[in-house]
Amino acid sequence: KDYTLAIHGGAGVILKENMTDKRESAYRKSLSKSLGLGGQMLEEGYSALDAVQFVVMALENDPKFNAGKGAVFSAAGKNELDAAIMDGRDRNAGAVSSVTTIKNPIVLARAVMENSRHVMFQGQGAEDFAKEHGIEQVDPKYFYTKRRYDQMKRKVKANKVKKHSFLDTAETKYG
């Protein structure tokens, strides 16, 4: 029982008035499921590293959160994903950025940490490394959700009107 796990699903302009009971309970349910998964792993003696990886994978697979499936779109209409993992035992770390076909970027980040002499791979290099190491790749369409695509369209339209500022309001700031 001597374990602790803390998780987040993103911060931002999350306003009570925008949050329906149904939506709030859906988010709470997802957070509770991830906490339960991670807690059970730690209870069964899995490492902190395994627990954080699998908890983040669960959240990446949940389209409500801005990571993996359900990620926000770039202005070019693409999902460019980033992830990192770090082991407190020896401060070893792995990170990937701007990947577009990796189903669970946190899995690739861990492979970089454990199977390469580098800390970070980006873009095509990261995708090639994934292929060499059998990390699951998907068609970029896998990440699509209408909600996020519509958010991007609104944002791009708004930015045409006024100078681009990523310090915008509403949840588009964090996707």
Binding site: Y3, E80, M86, G175
Partner: protein, 133 residues
């Protein structure tokens, strides 16, 4: 952005963060998540941190490593260090977002300067889930 920090039964710490970035971001833009020391950091001696927010500010402030450094050099608690870095260092730069952080004793802290952060904790089976400030 999603993230997790954990202390296991052997006293080891770890941190993990994953994101799609910012809606409407420019091609090739990378935020703090994959930058070790900005959005993700873990050191068994002091703390593990996972961040979410406007990445540009977290990179410039080196948020995740700074929270650990305040514990290392000033001996602050995880609550003191994470709250200082979010509510002073980051806020003074006009940055916004939040962190989940944990120390080597298994104490955890949520610190954020936005109206809400999806967050939860499980300490030895006792769980807590919050969304709003």
């Amino acid at each position: 952005t999603v993230g997790a920090v954990a202390k296991d039964g052997c006293g080891n710490l770890a941190a993990a963060t994953s994101t799609g970035g910012l809606t409407g971001k420019e091609f090739g833009r990378v935020g703090d998540t994959p930058i070790i020391g900005a959005g993700t950091y873990a050191d068994n001696r002091y703390c593990a941190v996972s961040a979410t927010g406007t990445g540009e500010f977290f990179i410039r402030a080196g948020v995740a490593r700074d929270i650990c450094s305040r514990r290392e050099y000033l001996g602050e608690s995880i609550a003191q260090s994470s709250n200082h870095v979010i509510h002073k260092t980051l806020t003074d730069m006009k940055g916004d977002g939040g962190v989940v952080a944990i120390d080597e004793q298994g104490n955890y802290s949520f610190a954020f300067n936005t109206p809400g952060m999806y967050r939860g904790a499980n300490k030895g089976g006792k769980t807590l889930i919050e969304i709003f400030d």
